[in-house]
């Protein structure tokens, strides 16, 4: 990040370069979009099947009452972490490189959290009841939700996070929407004009905007850290071995950032290609993203190690039983996939050449996503499958229902993300201009 970016563009090229590409994406875009629609159809029909028949179409059983769906939920919430992290925390740290990737990262956050939010509803099977009884709504029964349940915390955390991420994302979009408004005619102009609230770009507006953006970033920072902590409490608050550990909140947050950054990278590469953004999303920015990923990967590695150490050091047979089985038991495959994808493969990024090799880095980033999915799967399934009483032990086998819903969630996410890319600037133009050479009459 210390290296100076070699810009061969000026701020005058920004709007042209970014907006002109919105309307004519690469054919790859349409292929991806159709693929995502097919996935959504698969997911939606699986969901319809589930609603009409019962949650039993998934592989969940006793004792593994949570399975792939909650894995998906945690995975998507985790993905949803990078956006606000990059936007808010790196904003506060004044990391310049974030200005090129923050928009797509935020969009990713919003859609990932929306996707994640679907899973609890899918997961309960009878979503209409959950919708009524989770939030503290007035009712004729005089009964309220239980604020001592981590799931209610989750409801508050996720919905707050979604709202704040959405606001943050949209707030960043406002000046850019004004840019689009100023380039288009007719109805489009009206639509974009309404969407940007009639942003004019006066110094005063920028003044309040900056202040608001700063406060929002300051609010979002603890929020980012809290959300995945709260998600981790879904597990850590129960006394299940493998779940009941104090390391979970930081471990989950690190994991979330790892998966989020990897996902940002995974998304940026094709999107950059589809919308010809190579000039603005420079290799230096991608490399910075990779460095952050690498950092979190080492944190996650550490967390895995500590988890095992504590389980062993505790001398608790139940705790160690779960971890032992994770590593060498029936779920060992998932465990080692997770270790290799999240901890071992990213190590090649210590080499600068590898960091800058897009193909290799993309593969590693995708592998990290796979690994992070398996991490959640591991935590959920292997802890539940064999816990305290051997007589209650069981096994989990994902079914087509699980797979369909997971595929659907990826489709649903990509569908919205691609729509976003098609109609909104995927690079924050106003913020990009800030990190480009300033338009000065006298060259210093």
């Amino acid at each position: 990040m210390s290296e100076e970016v070699k810009w061969n563009k000026t701020i005058s090229d920004v709007n042209d370069g970014i907006l002109s590409n919105l309307g004519k994406p690469h054919p790859m875009f349409y292929a991806a979009w159709i693929a995502s629609i097919i996935c959504v159809i698969i997911g939606a029909s699986t969901w319809a099947w589930e609603i009409s028949v019962g949650i039993g179409i998934t592989g969940k059983t006793s004792p593994v009452y949570w399975g792939v769906l909650i894995t998906d939920f945690v995975f998507w919430v985790g993905i949803g972490h990078a956006g606000t992290l990059i936007s808010a925390i790196l904003f506060l740290f004044r990391a310049k490189w974030r200005n090129t990737v923050n928009r797509s990262a935020e969009a990713m956050t919003v859609f990932a959290v929306i996707t994640a939010g679907l899973f609890p509803l899918i997961h309960v099977g009878r979503l209409w009841l959950a919708l009524y009884w989770f939030p503290p709504l007035p009712n004729t029964n005089n009964i309220w939700p239980n604020f001592r349940s981590p799931l209610v915390w989750d409801l508050f955390a996720i919905s707050t996070y979604l709202t704040i991420s959405l606001l943050f994302w949209y707030m960043g979009l406002v000046p850019d929407l004004a840019s689009i408004r100023d380039r288009v005619k007719g109805l489009k102009r009206l639509v974009y004009g309404v969407m940007c609230f009639g942003w004019r770009g006066t110094a005063k507006q920028w003044h309040h905007y900056e202040a608001g953006y700063g406060f929002l970033a300051a609010l979002a920072t603890p929020l980012v850290l809290s959300v995945h902590s709260i998600v981790s409490w879904d597990f850590a608050m129960s006394i299940q071995p493998g779940w009941h550990t104090t390391i979970f909140p930081p471990y989950f947050v690190a994991g979330a950032i790892l998966s989020g950054c990897a996902m940002v990278y995974t998304l940026l590469i094709p999107v950059r290609k589809m919308f010809r953004m190579e000039e603005f999303i420079r290799p230096e920015h991608l490399e910075a993203c990779i460095k952050l990923t690498l950092l979190t990967s080492t944190i996650v590695f550490y967390a895995y190690a500590v988890e095992f150490f504590v389980a062993w050091y505790s001398g608790n047979a139940y705790e160690w039983g779960v971890f032992e089985k994770r590593a060498i038991g029936p779920y060992a495959f998932y465990f080692w996939v997770m270790v290799f994808c999240n901890c071992i493969f990213p190590m090649i990024w210590w080499s600068k050449a590898m960091r800058n090799n897009v193909a290799v880095s993309l593969v590693v980033a995708v592998l990290i996503n796979v690994g992070m999915w398996f991490e959640r799967y591991n935590i959920i399934v292997s802890s539940l499958a064999e816990d305290f009483l051997p007589g209650s032990w069981g096994h989990f086998q994902p079914t087509w229902g699980d797979i369909g819903l997971t595929v659907g969630s990826f489709g649903w996410f990509s569908f919205w993300f691609l729509i976003f890319c098609r109609f909104f600037p995927i690079v924050s133009m106003s913020e990009l201009k800030l990190i480009m050479p300033k338009p000065l009459s006298k060259k210093h």
């Binding site: 209409w128 007035p138 004729t140």
Partner: protein, 185 residues
């Protein structure tokens, strides 16, 4: 100016829609804020007064004849359900009394055919609610506290909402148990 008036008319339309929705949520037996949001007992059924095979005059039996509720609903003290009297209870008197009335003739025909009279339930709790009359009657809760003043009715209409909140209010006020298992198991 046109835009302004347009936005006004838009606003007015919005308000009208809201009012319509509000009104619908405030229909008979519906409280806007509470009933709108809850599943299940959206409508509290107060005033529900279904047609019955015969117009049984509770008022005459209670007021004029001074009959006790438990004379006919004899199971209330001993059982979860109060019980609807079997036909032989009716026929005990009506073999002789008022035999010229149309309703009594109906009863008589049923009695002869050994067919039961099929009544329509008025107070119908969901099946997951395990209400029992027994402790309430033994505690001395008057029938009318839940069923309204039946002595003024012919066939019964529902007087109280019989929603959970209504139960809970009374239980809380009387230090009756309010753990969930009191009614749900």
């Amino acid at each position: 100016m046109a835009t302004v008036s347009k936005s006004f008319s838009h606003l007015a339309r919005l308000i009208m829609l809201m009012a319509l929705l509000f009104q619908s949520g405030c229909g008979r037996g519906q409280k806007f804020w509470t009933n709108w949001w809850t599943p299940g007992d959206t409508v509290d059924n107060v005033g529900y007064h279904p047609d019955q095979p015969i117009e049984f005059p509770h008022n005459i039996h209670v007021q004029k004849l001074q009959m006790n509720c438990e004379y006919c609903h004899s199971a209330a003290r001993r059982s979860s359900s109060a019980g609807i009297p079997p036909l032989n209870t009716c026929m005990g008197c009506h073999q002789y009394a008022q035999t010229d009335k149309e309703a009594i003739q109906y009863l008589n025909s049923k009695w002869k055919a050994k067919e039961p009279v099929v009544w329509t339930k008025v107070h119908d709790l969901p099946d997951f609610v395990r209400f029992t009359h027994r402790p309430h009657v033994q505690k001395g809760v008057d029938c009318s506290e839940c069923h309204g003043d039946v002595s003024q009715m012919t066939t019964v209409s529902q007087a109280k909402s019989m929603q959970m909140g209504w139960c809970i209010e009374c239980h809380q006020a009387n230090q009756a148990p309010i753990s969930c298992v009191t009614c749900h198991y």
